[in-house]
């Protein structure tokens, strides 16, 4: 197992290095950020001083060498905008997003498993048809539209929930609810399909011949087998939120990593962009590792 993890870590590190190089040079193509930070009437000397201070005067390759040199010492650079270490800025934002992802995916997973399994148990029945209808709508509805409609209804008209920001539990309701819809629709469909297969399998027939009750057949005998293809989708969806639920975070003014990345790209806060990308990549790597471990735990036939 540890050999397997090592191999995977090595492969991920190689792609991460490539990614950092690519993003470093691509982001520099957008020009230098001096004009964005200094007032319009700033003197030439002031502009020159700003460039000198942040090292934008050196040739690109020298800037890159300096960046890598700092990176090796664990220094991810400074945020120009916030004038503090870039990694600190990113980790703060990532914590918010991580909380958002964990809360959302917990609800999604539980709800999708229950709804998908019950739909599969009486496939073609009324519950199944309703579940399929609504999950398809959920899986295909655009989240920016849902977010805006939700704000209009629940915040503006009914005034039950705040429109944006953080602070109280109420602030979490709308972002979580909006992020919930699409993965829920998707995962219900996957659970349903997988569960239909499993429930028609020979070992479920054995369980019925043993006199096992219906609920344990579905949720003990069926579920653990049915979860195998589902886990991958859950992981993908969680990774998508971790990678920045850009639209939702922006609309709700949620200080997560998606919003941070958009702001930093617009303001050419290069160090923050790069640090955010590294953290996202690491999160994806850990997520995939988690999926593989979950696979091995669920299915004893898989051993790495």
């Amino acid at each position: 197992m540890s050999k397997f993890i090592g191999k995977r870590a090595l492969a991920s590190a190689v792609s991460l290095i490539g990614l950092v190089i690519l993003v470093f040079f691509l982001s520099r193509l957008t020009g230098d950020p001096t004009d964005l930070y200094l007032p319009l009437d700033a003197s030439v000397e002031a502009r020159e001083q700003f460039r000198e201070m942040h090292g934008f005067n050196d040739p690109l390759i020298v800037q890159f060498g300096r960046y890598v040199g700092d990176l090796v010492q664990g220094d991810f650079g400074e945020s120009i905008r916030q004038a503090r270490p870039a990694m600190q800025v990113v980790l703060e934002a990532f914590t918010w997003t991580l909380a958002l992802a964990v809360i959302t995916m917990t609800f999604v997973t539980i709800a999708a498993i229950v709804v998908g399994s019950l739909a599969a148990f009486r496939a073609g029945g009324i519950f199944d048809r309703l579940a399929t209808f609504f999950s398809l709508i959920g899986a295909s509805a655009p989240d920016f539209w849902i977010a805006i409609v939700a704000i209009v209804i629940f915040s503006v008209n009914l005034q039950w929930l705040p429109t944006s920001g953080t602070g109280s539990a109420a602030h979490w309701v709308l972002p979580v609810a909006v992020l919930f819809i699409r993965p829920f629709g998707l995962i219900v469909q996957v659970v349903r399909g997988s569960m239909i297969n499993v429930l028609s399998s020979a070992y479920v027939k054995t369980a019925r011949a043993k006199g096992v009750r219906t609920l344990p057949i579905i949720f003990v005998h069926g579920l653990r087998n049915a979860m195998l293809p589902v886990i991958t989708v859950i992981g993908d969806q969680a990774a998508a939120i971790l990678n920045g639920a850009v639209v939702v975070e922006t609309i709700f003014g949620f200080p997560g990593i998606g919003k941070l990345m958009i702001d930093s790209i617009l303001l050419r806060d290069f160090s923050v962009v790069l640090a955010a990308i590294m953290i996202s990549a690491l999160a994806i790597f850990l997520m995939n590792l988690l999926i593989d471990i979950a696979y091995a735990l669920l299915d004893p036939r898989i051993r790495y």
Binding site: A202, A209, K210, R224, L298, D299, R301
Partner: protein, 544 residues
């Protein structure tokens, strides 16, 4: 009239399918008493499993529907019980085991848990259930029973898995055990052990045993009474021995006549002259696993050589190595004097025509999206020198006639045929290449007995007409007896014994061959009883 332990009275079951209503069983009557073994004998599609599924409430409704009848357990009609009452009977009063125990055990739970679950489901406390599960693992004769508790189904062999199923089924000491083709997927020696275990446990517990099978040999070995089914109806019923010796219904007669292993054995073949194929000292490694350990093999023109062995003996590896579908690690293969191992891709391509293969499962070996015409004529698209395109249509028609199908079937797809017909298509496809040697890897194992006899008859006819040679891979000794000229017995990648068919069957030299012969089941109950005695003595001799 005293109540039977279990009685099925006038049962009819229908299935509503896209193709219309199928009457799976019609007005079926049978009963089972305590301590006796009833066999329901039938081929695929005969409805032999349907009444058992009805007893276990395993028929999905819809599409299934019980249209008439009663199922009486100790005189009480189960069809009038609530779902909860039926559930409580399953496992506790009536238990069931199935063919293919790997598929029927849940892959993600330990076998100990699965056996214990049978008891916790019916109200036993968890610790007592676990303790009894451990006892049961001992009782059914698993190696290292204490370790077995925490293992998963995939960690056992086929025969061990069926023992696990039996342990699970007997956990609540049921009055009735239903066994649906319990030994069909098993090797002959393992089959004999599992049947012996079932009989032993029956004597211990006095349960009624309902055995569903297609195999006359299994009936002869274990059944007291037999019910013969065909097309959803019972055609004959009675004492197992009487039905075998004095069958009344034409179908029963046909079934008994089709049982392999009773025909004339061929005379020893002439083995002088140049062999068609000679393999020497073949080895095959799969990483560290030594699958073939120096196998020699000679096939003369027009000769049928059978390779017999249990699973894991290396017989299929040998077949694939000879065709270079899976290159051997070392050794030589000479085909008409040419060394197959040193041929380049181009020469090998030319020779492929001469060496064809027919696989076990025609459902998988025929591309479902090609018509029969496409499947057969593909050979000529690949080897255009065989036949000009103008003649394809006529030749396909000719080949289909030759394998006993109709020319107009050429436009159909594989799924529109039965299993036996599909195997005929696979044979026609092999014949399209005008081969000299056909390798049949368990080519008749998946077929019903009567179909099996027809396909063997077809292969034998082609041998007479076209001078074909066969390398015939099989696990089933009786089939080989009627068809092969020579027999090679393999075990663990090595040849145990080789010789003319008569010598192998009438004067086997090796203990392993004798054990294989002793374990294979004869359809005649009397012969089978004698064989069983011989087997017991052999076992005693081996263990002594």
């Amino acid at each position: 009239m005293a109540d039977h332990l279990l009685e099925v009275r006038d049962l009819s079951v229908e299935f509503h399918t896209a193709a219309g209503t199928v009457k799976a069983v019609q007005n079926v009557n049978w009963y089972l008493d305590r301590g006796e073994t009833l066999a329901i004998l039938g081929e695929s599609g005969s409805g032999k499993s349907v009444s058992a599924s009805a007893v276990m409430n395993l028929i999905d409704m819809p599409p299934g529907k019980i249209t008439s009848g009663a199922i009486l357990l100790n005189g009480k009609d189960m069809l009038k019980m609530s779902a909860e009452e039926r559930r409580a009977i399953n496992g506790a009063k009536i238990a069931m085991i199935f063919q293919d125990p790997l598929a029927h055990l849940n892959p993600v739970f330990t076998v100990g848990w699965q056996i214990a679950e049978m008891m916790t489901t019916h109200g036993r406390p968890r610790d007592k259930a676990a303790a009894r599960a451990r006892d049961l693992l001992h009782r059914v004769g698993l190696p290292e029973p204490d370790l077995a508790f925490g293992k998963y189904p995939h960690q056992f062999s086929g025969g061990q898995r069926q023992r696990l199923m039996i342990a699970m089924a007997l956990a609540c000491k049921p009055d009735i055990l239903i066994a649906d083709e319990p030994t069909t997927a098993l090797d002959v020696t393992v089959q004999a052990q599992v049947l012996a275990l079932l009989e032993e446990l029956q004597q211990e517990t006095g349960m009624g045993l309902l055995l569903i099978t297609h195999d006359l040999g299994v009936v002869a070995e274990i059944a007291d009474r037999v019910v013969v089914m065909n097309g959803g109806q019972i055609v004959e019923t009675g004492n197992a021995s009487e039905v075998y010796h004095n069958p009344q219904h034409p179908y029963t007669k046909k079934l008994i006549a089709a049982a392999p292993g009773s025909g004339e054995m061929p005379e020893e073949s002439d083995r002088r002259g140049e062999p068609l194929l000679r393999a020497t000292d073949l080895h095959k490694y799969y990483s560290a696993f030594h699958a073939l350990k120096g196998v020699d093999l000679t096939i003369m023109p027009g000769e049928t050589v059978a390779v017999v062995g249990e699973s894991g003996s290396g017989k299929s590896t040998l077949a694939r190595a000879i065709l270079r579908l899976d290159d051997p690690s070392s050794g030589q293969i000479h085909y008409r004097g040419k060394d197959l191992m040193t041929l380049g891709p181009r020469e090998l391509f030319g020779l492929r025509r001469d060496l064809q293969m027919v696989f076990q499962d025609p459902t998988q070996s025929l591309n479902p999206r090609m018509t029969v015409f496409q499947l057969i004529s593909e050979a000529w698209a690949i080897h255009p020198e065989i036949l000009p395109r103008k003649q394809w249509r006529d030749r396909v028609a000719e080949l289909l006639t030759k394998v006993g199908l109709k020319p107009e079937m050429a436009v159909r797809y594989p799924h529109q045929f039965s299993g036996g017909q599909r195997q005929r298509i696979a044979i026609a496809r092999a014949l399209a290449m005008e081969p000299k040697l056909i390798v049949c890897d368990e080519a008749v194992s998946a077929l019903d007995v009567s179909i099996q006899a027809q396909v063997i008859e077809l292969l034998a006819g082609l041998r007479r007409e076209m001078g074909l040679s066969y390398l015939f891979i099989a696990h089933d000794l009786p089939v080989v007896r009627d068809f092969a000229d020579r027999v090679i017995v393999m075990k663990s990648g090595e040849i145990v014994e080789e010789g003319p068919v008569r010598q192998i069957f009438e004067a086997p030299r090796k203990d392993y061959t004798r054990a294989l012969l002793a374990a294979s089941l004869d359809p005649d109950p009397e012969i089978q009883a004698a064989r069983r005695t011989a087997r017991m003595e052999l076992e005693m001799a081996v263990s002594a």
